[in-house]
């Protein structure tokens, strides 16, 4: 079979060369206005955009091992991602050309990599006529400089992949740019994005290569979705899933509810009642099955019993609960994963991979094992002095782990520590997802009870409106599942005392063989909960 590919590769390159002559194969899409978001003050939600690379890279395991990844990396929102935040940006930020030395928080350090004015603008006859396209004045129409894309995107894989966060009513434009896997030139792998758990998904944008299109090396594809009902979803590549997921092409994605946009003090129940007027989110009146009014059997948030809860002055809500029960002060997306070092080695060294033998030996929270889950030191290139050119367009100050890649360059590899900081008397939302490809994993809480409020991005509430939340001290997930848990430090401990600043608790796995980092016998799936 290899020989077929050896023949195909030059053919493909010729095809790509042909394309390059006709049209640009790398490009980003992020319109300033759409039919749904014409730019009026009354617009609900916004246009949000993100660009990611599909390629490879390296990560550092907690025992110091450098591990090869097939991975996605950030090609927008680099400064936010370096701080452990989602890379999703508003149109105005995304369409600001990326400048790696711009000050932190500058829009220019979060813009789309590669964005340059389209040189065609000067020659486009439409620009000299009435109602010219907007790019005639700005020059920016999504045209990108492939050199910048490759400079920044090659080997910049992250584990987990860049985080995405949107709000209900947002339109989300996600551009996947396939920069190729430099360490595996024999595999001219396509990549895709599967939005795992999206209700009423579009087959075209579902990312399953068998059911749709897959993106070749040298190409960009923009996925488009109106944000679905609020919840903790996640995303991953869907090419050869046992291989690409094991190798690290997994990421986090969540949708925040409309309820967050209610004004402070506004009644939550009335807010959810108002959503029943929108046929898309109505529960009693949007179910298929009959032509008469039918309850939607898949409705995400039925009305709770009438109540007087109001929008809190601070904090956010996980779901459109209508009763305030999903309120939180801080949120932590936590993705569980496992790496089989043998599979990763084989994946780097051109050998055939076995699937039945897969055995994970690194157990990861957000791409790191204990004690790396606690490391918030990060990396500061600025302290190394000016003129360090090794960073090829990467942020120069970051809370991320950096890993030296095969070209000798250090790049951010694991941006997310997993220290849960709960303000004393506050509530933390843990958005837990699992993309392990070989076994189930359990995460337990020592001390602070876990309140499970949602499973698989859906509030635990029966059709009659009763909350079915439950308290537990452990949750068990398979790859492909998510769960929302609240750690509540506002409820006194059983002895009547309050959780106090300075106290430390643990999240760890009672799968005791998962508390290891390969041969190291203490590590793995574990982190700390700090009361601040």
């Amino acid at each position: 079979m290899r020989k077929v590919y050896q023949v195909c590769l030059p053919v493909l390159l010729v095809c790509l060369a042909t394309v390059a002559a006709n049209a640009q194969s790398f490009r980003v899409q992020c319109p300033s206005t759409t039919a749904l978001h014409p730019g009026n003050p009354t617009d609900q939600g916004a246009i949000k955009c993100q660009q990611i690379s599909g390629g490879d890279g390296y990560a550092t395991m907690a025992d110091g091992t450098q591990t090869y990844l097939f991975a996605f990396g950030p090609l927008s929102g680099l400064n936010d991602i370096a701080k452990g935040l989602p890379g999703t940006q508003l149109n105005s930020v995304f369409m600001t050309p990326y400048d790696p030395v711009a000050a932190p928080n500058s829009a220019a350090s979060n813009g789309a990599v590669g964005l340059v004015p389209n040189p065609e603008a000067a020659h486009d006859p439409r620009c000299s006529k009435a109602s010219p396209p907007s790019y005639c004045t700005t020059g920016f129409d999504g045209h990108v400089d492939p050199r910048q894309i490759m400079d920044v995107g090659v080997m910049n894989g992250n584990m987990p992949a860049p985080m995405m966060a949107i709000d209900e009513d947002d339109e989300f434009f996600l551009t996947l740019t396939n920069v190729g896997m430099i360490m595996r030139p024999d595999l001219f792998e396509q990549h895709t994005v599967h939005f795992h758990g999206y209700p009423n998904a579009s087959a075209f944008y579902d990312g399953v290569p068998d059911a749709s299109v897959a993106i070749n090396i040298g190409g960009s594809f923009t996925y488009y979705y109106l944000a679905p009902d609020a919840g903790t979803y996640f995303w991953h590549c869907h090419i050869t899933p046992p291989e690409h997921l094991q190798m690290g092409m997994v990421g986090q994605l969540y949708v925040r509810p409309r309820q967050n946009r209610l004004g402070s003090g506004a009644p939550l129940f009335a807010g959810l009642q108002a959503q029943q007027g929108d046929p898309r989110t109505s529960c009693p009146n949007s179910g298929p099955g009959t032509t008469g009014p039918a309850t939607d059997i898949l409705c995400s948030t039925p009305l709770p019993p009438s109540n007087t809860a109001s929008r809190a002055a601070t904090g956010l809500y996980a779901y459109n609960d209508g009763d305030g029960s999903t309120h939180y002060d801080v949120e932590y997306p936590i993705q569980i994963h496992g790496f089989d070092p043998n599979f990763h080695f084989v994946g780097m060294t051109f050998n055939p991979e076995g699937f039945a033998d897969m055995k994970d030996k690194y157990f990861l929270l957000n791409g790191r094992s204990y004690p790396d889950t606690l490391n918030t030191t990060g990396y500061n290139d600025i302290s190394l002095g000016a003129g360090n050119s090794d960073f090829v367009g990467q942020p120069r100050s970051s809370t991320a782990f950096y890993t030296q890649d095969a070209d000798g360059v250090q790049r951010p590899s694991q941006p997310l520590p997993t220290v849960i900081n709960i303000p004393a008397g506050g509530r933390a939302l843990l958005r837990i997802s699992d993309l392990d490809v070989s076994e189930y994993q359990t995460l337990a809480s020592l001390g602070v009870p876990m309140q499970v409020i949602a499973i698989n991005a859906r509030l635990l509430r029966d059709q009659a409106g009763n909350n079915l939340y439950y308290n537990t001290n452990s949750i068990t997930l398979a790859g492909g599942e998510s769960i929302d848990v609240i750690l509540d430090a506002s409820v006194p401990k059983p002895d009547g005392t309050a959780y106090a600043k300075g106290e430390v608790y643990y999240l760890y796995t009672p799968n005791l063989d998962h508390l290891s980092n390969d041969a190291e016998n203490f590590g793995g799936l574990m982190t700390e909960v700090h009361i601040n």
């Binding site: 759409t34 209700p199 594809f221 939607d296 898949l298 991979e353 076995g354 698989n456 059709q463």
Partner: protein, 531 residues
């Protein structure tokens, strides 16, 4: 025959032959599923040995339940709807037993396994079973096992509706692994009246109703009405165990008569499965037809099809010994019941209380009933690619919202159950095809993309939507899609699979294992589950 290439790991780049097999099968006949089985209330079953086939070419020595040679079962759906319906002497999974709530069920089991296997039995978890005529069993009571050559009779009342598992209660670590498991479905005795709009459309398109019950409810409850149903049983096999078993039964022709616990020396731990099956078949075999002649001992497929807006009942069972996270692309599943126990609200018994799941995790022995549908609601673009400026009448179909927002006025309309709030909204900014313009995205040059075998050819659904959008062959190159082509089915395909992704392999070959493509077909495409 023995499993081939057992020690030779094969990477994803070697998938081509498998894909071609899949494609060949799909071109032969577009298989569509259902939940076929045999009806009681009396079943004469046998347990015996044979070989089941896997898509890597292996024939695996297995044991299974089947219909005793003198037993002529009644099929549901009947052979008139599902030609070729059969119940062989041995099959994996065992025959799906279909009974009605309240019936007195009798299952007579004859043990025709090799003598070295010793006794066998069936457990029916969830039922109060009385056994007669057998020999002592560990889990089945003093007369609940069938000795080699002997028969045991189980009788019980089908207490409550729903889907449940049945499986061997004798040396389960070996006998269940070898294939002795199946499903029992209890239909409701007092179902609600289902006012189901989709039946009107089904008959308008001369489609056959393949449901096991004409009233269309899974339980005695108004929220359990459905339009189609599919059964998925998850199990796995360690080929080394099967090879050892085959050698042992050949080496040991007889065993002590009593107590006959068998005399096979088979190591069942450590367990190292390499085949991951849905209804006894691995992908792509699971997408071939029910009762296909190629699989004489694996009659049931796993290949769901549906139209937008149809309520689809999923009957999901974990067999074998591992858990498998079954991920349904496309939408959530409302869980109705676990092991036949309807989950209702504590304050209002007319309302459901089961969770909404996008991954229905199977655990050995656990059965779930759930309802799924797909409508495309809320995508913010018209999935039918309607174009009000077109001269093509199919591009200008009206959408009149019913009380729920769907287009259900005309049961013959191709866009029956279109979500009218998104009607006419363009996806593409400046398409060259006959679809609405002014949308949010520009689709890239098709040359930078690779088409999948089940890609309908465009982003759109409908009788000629792909042709209108991109031409009669879909977006090319390299070629028109082959398993779901623009010229015929052109449905929206969604992968349903185990999310323990290593289980979508067949003995180290990707793709394979616990995977299938679910298709949402435009309303005018006739889903024929008899194929």
């Amino acid at each position: 025959m023995s499993p081939m290439n057992k020690n030779k790991a094969i990477s994803m780049t070697r998938l081509l032959p498998i894909v071609m097999v899949a494609v060949t099968l799909l071109l032969t006949a577009t298989a569509q599923a259902a939940a076929p089985g045999i009806t009681g209330p009396t079943f004469n079953l046998t347990a015996q040995a044979s070989y089941i086939s896997q898509p890597d070419g292996a024939m695996i020595y297995s044991w299974g339940y089947g219909c005793a040679s003198a037993f002529t079962p009644t099929f549901n759906p009947p052979a008139s709807k599902m030609p070729g319906a059969k119940c062989p002497l041995m099959q994996v999974p065992g025959p799906t037993l279909i009974v009605t709530e309240g019936q007195a069920v009798i299952v007579n089991l004859t043990n025709n396994l090799p003598a070295a296997a010793g006794n066998t039995s069936i457990l029916f978890p969830g039922f109060q079973v009385t056994a007669t005529g057998g020999v002592p069993g560990l889990l089945t009571g003093p007369i609940g096992d069938a000795a080699p050559g002997g028969t045991v009779s189980y009788s019980f009342t089908a207490g409550s509706p729903g889907t449940r598992a049945y499986y061997s209660g004798t040396q389960g670590d070996l006998q269940v692994e070898m294939g002795l498991y199946g499903a029992i479905i209890v239909l409701p005795a007092t179902p609600p009246t289902c006012a189901n709009a989709n039946l009107v459309a089904e008959s308008a398109h001369s489609e056959t109703d393949y449901r096991l019950t004409a009233n269309g409810a899974a339980f005695d409850h108004a929220s359990s009405c459905y339009d189609r149903e599919y059964l998925f049983q998850f199990s796995e096999m360690d080929p080394v165990i099967h090879t050892q078993a085959e050698q042992q039964v050949a080496a040991k022709a007889s065993c002590p008569a009593s107590p006959n616990t068998g005399c096979m020396d088979v190591v069942t731990e450590p367990y190292h499965p390499a085949y991951f099956m849905i209804n006894g078949r691995s992908m792509p075999d699971d997408m071939d037809t029910n009762y296909a002649v190629e699989y004489p001992h694996q009659p049931y497929n796993g290949n769901p099809h549906m139209h937008p807006g149809e309520l689809v009942l999923l009957r999901i069972i974990g067999q074998g010994r591992w858990q498998h996270p079954f991920h349904e692309h496309g939408n959530h599943v409302r869980i109705l019941a676990r092991d036949g126990n309807l989950i209702l609200s504590q304050t209002d018994a007319t309302k459901l209380a089961g969770p909404l799941l996008f991954t229905t995790t199977t655990t050995p022995g656990v059965a779930m009933d759930g309802i799924f549908y797909w409508t495309g609601k809320g995508l913010n673009w018209d999935v039918y690619g309607h174009n009000s400026a077109s001269t093509d009448p199919l591009a200008k179909l009206p959408c009149t919202a019913d009380a729920n927002g769907y287009n259900t006025g005309d049961p013959t309309a191709p866009n029956y159950y279109e979500w009218c709030a998104d009607h006419g909204k363009a996806l593409e900014k400046a398409p060259f095809g006959d679809v609405n313009a002014g949308g949010p995205v520009t689709l890239p040059d098709a040359n930078i993309l690779t088409n999948g075998a089940w890609f309908g050819g465009s982003a759109y659904l409908g009788p000629n939507a792909t042709t209108r959008a991109v031409g009669p062959t879909g977006t090319t190159p390299p070629s028109g899609t082959i398993a779901n082509p623009p010229g015929s089915e052109a449905g929206f395909a969604f992968m349903w699979h185990s999310h323990n992704e290593r289980e979508i392999t067949t003995n180290n070959i990707f793709p394979g294992g616990m995977m299938m493509m679910m298709l949402v077909d435009s309303r005018e495409f006739q889903i024929n589950e008899s194929f």
